[in-house]
């Protein structure tokens, strides 16, 4: 039986060797890792630029990404140099794509991202900061998360405050209704922050128009077809009592206008939001009385630019004041009077932006309601 004993002995020794070798290997890797900051600085010279967003089917996101491409081209690179991380509305995919990007390029990444929903922002930021890369976010962020708590690597966050502009469109609508009559509101997905703010704006305006009655509020999920169906339901329910329509987005306004057209109603006052090219045309024709432009092209470009120039060391985020780390994006009210000028300036061509003028169009530091 001695050969068995010998065999077992050999195996034991081998196992011990294996463990020792593994420990040695791990130790070596840890030692190598401690020298990595030098490597990170070297990679920062030419960072990969990436945009993480939902998808391009929606005109709004299409403009955001076009802006990102515009920025990349300003560096003398082709459009294809912008890496597109498309999450399709999934926070999990958003995070795993970003982690994959980071494991491929390490600290050499300048990322612009909409984290898809608010809770997802923290893991995204922590992954990027952990890798030593740079990230700028838009739209979705919890109130307790701040770029200045992460030094230089969480560069900035931009969002848009819709309450004020939405109140302005509501006032234009009520004036067109002669200050009296019933109004219906078609909202976005009920839990979305812009949907909540745009309805809040309408309600603020209602306070100064006692003769205007808010007949109904109904979510149509930013969707043209659903808005079409909801509007025809409203027509059945309220009929001629509806004197005006307040829409939380252009996409829904298209559905509303078609529902009205089907009934032969041509002059119903309608206002919307987002300033999509097609909506601006409708404003110029007087079919929509007002919409609000949030300049997604600039937003998409400047968010990528902030992350990029922080990564290259062009500016040091931690040396900037707080209003440069968390700020509101631009909002421009478009009415029938200025629609044509606006179209010539912003839609027929994209104005040439200075992508190093990071805060030129910002509307001030983000305020939190406690």
């Amino acid at each position: 039986m001695s050969f068995i004993k010998q065999y077992i002995e050999q195996q034991t020794i081998n196992r011990r060797n294996l463990l020792l070798l593994s420990a040695y290997g791990l130790g070596g890797m840890a030692a190598a890792a401690s020298f990595r900051p030098g490597f990170a600085r070297a990679a920062g010279q030419d960072p990969k630029i990436a945009w993480s967003y939902r998808d391009r089917t929606n005109p709004y996101w299409n403009s955001i990404v076009s802006g990102g491409e515009g920025f990349v081209e300003s560096l003398g690179l082709p459009k294809s140099a912008l890496l597109n991380l498309i999450n399709g509305g999934s926070s999990e995919k958003s995070l795993s794509d970003i982690k994959a990007l980071l494991s491929r390029y390490g600290s050499g990444v300048a990322l612009a991202a909409d984290p898809n929903d608010m809770p997802n922002c923290r893991p995204v930021v922590e992954a990027v900061v952990g890798a030593g890369a740079y990230v700028s976010t838009i739209w979705n962020k919890t109130d307790d998360l701040h770029p200045w708590d992460f030094g230089d690597h969480y560069v900035s966050h931009m969002t848009w405050s819709d309450v004020g502009p939405s109140e302005q469109t509501a006032r234009i609508l009520f004036d067109a209704m002669g200050g009296k009559g019933g109004v219906v509101h078609l909202g976005g997905i009920a839990s979305n922050n812009p949907a909540i703010e745009r309805l809040a704006g309408l309600k603020n305006a209602l306070k100064s128009y006692p003769n205007v009655e808010l007949l109904a509020v109904q979510a149509a999920d930013w969707d043209t077809q659903k808005a079409n169906q909801v509007m025809s339901g409203f027509l059945t329910r309220y009929g001629d009592a509806i004197k005006g329509v307040h829409c939380a987005s252009d996409t829904m306004a298209y559905g509303v206008i078609e529902a009205l057209r089907a009934e032969g109603i041509e002059n119903m006052p309608v206002v919307s939001y987002d300033g999509n090219p097609q909506a601006v045309d409708l404003v110029a024709q007087g079919k929509i009385l007002a919409t609000v432009f949030t300049n997604p092209y600039w937003g998409g470009g400047i968010t990528a630019a902030l992350a990029y120039y922080a990564a290259t060391g062009f500016f040091k985020p931690s040396a900037e004041p707080k209003e440069h780390r968390e700020f509101y994006g631009p909002t421009v009210l478009i009415t029938t009077k200025d629609a044509r000028d606006f179209k010539a300036k912003y839609i027929d061509s994209n104005p040439k932006y200075d992508w190093k003028d990071f805060w030129g169009l910002s509307k001030g530091q983000i305020q939190y309601r406690s």
Binding site: D55, R56, T57, N58, P59, W61, N62, A190, A216, V217, Q218, A219, D223, T224, Q225, K226, N228, Q229, V230, S232, G233, F234, L235, T236, R237, G239, Y254, G255, E258, A259, R261, A262, E263, G264, Q278
Partner: protein, 321 residues
């Protein structure tokens, strides 16, 4: 046995009774619901959905399933709009060719779908779902994410011109339904769908080329999806990738609520008409009676379950498949 036959006859009419009860219920809560103008509104929202659901009916009759409608509708809508604008922008001249053009596009997508399912032996569920994604991507590629507007007054007359209070598109959809009825009942291929759905092994043993019939079924479905796409564009005057959004749930639900068995072999296009009307009456009715919107999705789900429970013959099923 006699009792069973009576039950079968009643069950056949259950979807229709469900529709009737829903109409009466909504009318009782808000009498405005029961007006001709509201029925016309329901007809407008039902017309595109009816064509898509009829297409899906053929495939479901065979015991397969087609989930590619969102992609196919998007591609067909975009192809239609691009052709129409390229050919002068009006149906009056060469533009009418855009309609057969879209139908060809739908047929080709359906053929690819069917061939992947039959030749590569991939379950139709997976093959068609994947083809749906391909379609969405393709339409996005063609439009670059933009919307294509259709202003042609002649084409838009499908929505704006009314005969006896109903818009032309409702009659167009009815015409499509009659064609589908003819295919289902009066053609060999239509009968073969039932044969395969009722018992594929038996059909095969009788010498039927099952693979070929299946591919034809998918092609037919694609052509009807294209008709749905044209009506969807007529409804909104916009062709875009999102034109297809929502049709998967809408059409599959309609087919099942109408009483066509997912296992195949029983049901038909008239069931689908009733199913489409049920789903659209619920959608319209919930707004008309003023149900709070946070309840609407939940109520829609419960109503669909109830309708399916009442209309499906589950005696033959040892467990739900």
């Amino acid at each position: 046995m006699k009792h069973g036959l009576v039950m079968d006859n009643i069950r056949k009419w259950v979807p229709f009774l469900v529709l009737l009860v829903l109409v009466l219920f909504f009318a009782a809560v808000n009498p405005h619901f029961l007006s001709l103008r509201n029925f016309a509104r329901i007809a407008v929202s039902s017309s595109p959905a009816l064509m898509v659901a009829v297409g899906a009916t053929f495939v479901i009759l065979m015991g397969s399933i087609d989930l590619s409608m969102e992609g196919t509708v998007a591609v067909c809508a975009v192809v239609f709009a691009m052709l129409l604008n390229r050919l002068g922008g009006s149906l009056a001249h060469m533009g009418w060719l855009a309609i057969p053009g879209a139908m060809i596009a739908g047929g080709v997508l359906g053929a690819v779908n069917g061939l992947i399912h039959v030749r590569l032996r991939i379950p139709s569920f997976m093959a068609s779902l994947s083809m749906g994604f391909v379609g969405v991507g393709l339409s996005l590629l063609m439009t670059g994410g933009n919307r294509i507007l259709i202003g042609d007054p002649l084409f838009r007359s499908l929505l704006t011109v009314r005969i006896m209070s109903f818009p032309l598109m409702a009659y167009a959809a009815l015409g499509g339904l009659l064609v589908a009825w003819f295919i289902q009942g009066r053609t060999t291929i239509g009968r073969n769908f039932y044969a395969i759905g009722g018992g594929e092994d038996l059909a095969r043993a009788s010498g039927l080329n099952v693979g070929r019939v299946r591919v034809i079924g998918f092609v037919l479905a694609g052509v009807f999806f294209a008709l749905g796409a044209v009506l969807a564009v007529a409804r909104l005057g916009i062709a875009e990738t999102e034109t297809g959004t929502g049709f998967m749930f809408l059409s599959i639900t309609s087919v099942v609520v109408g009483g066509t068995a997912l296992a195949g072999g029983s049901g038909g296009v008239w069931n689908t008409l009733v199913g489409v009307l049920i789903v659209n009456v619920i959608g319209n009715g919930m707004v008309v009676v003023g149900l709070p919107d946070y309840l609407q999705d939940g109520v829609l789900g419960l109503l669909v379950i109830t309708a399916v429970y009442l209309s499906m013959d589950r005696r033959g099923l040892s467990f739900a498949r």
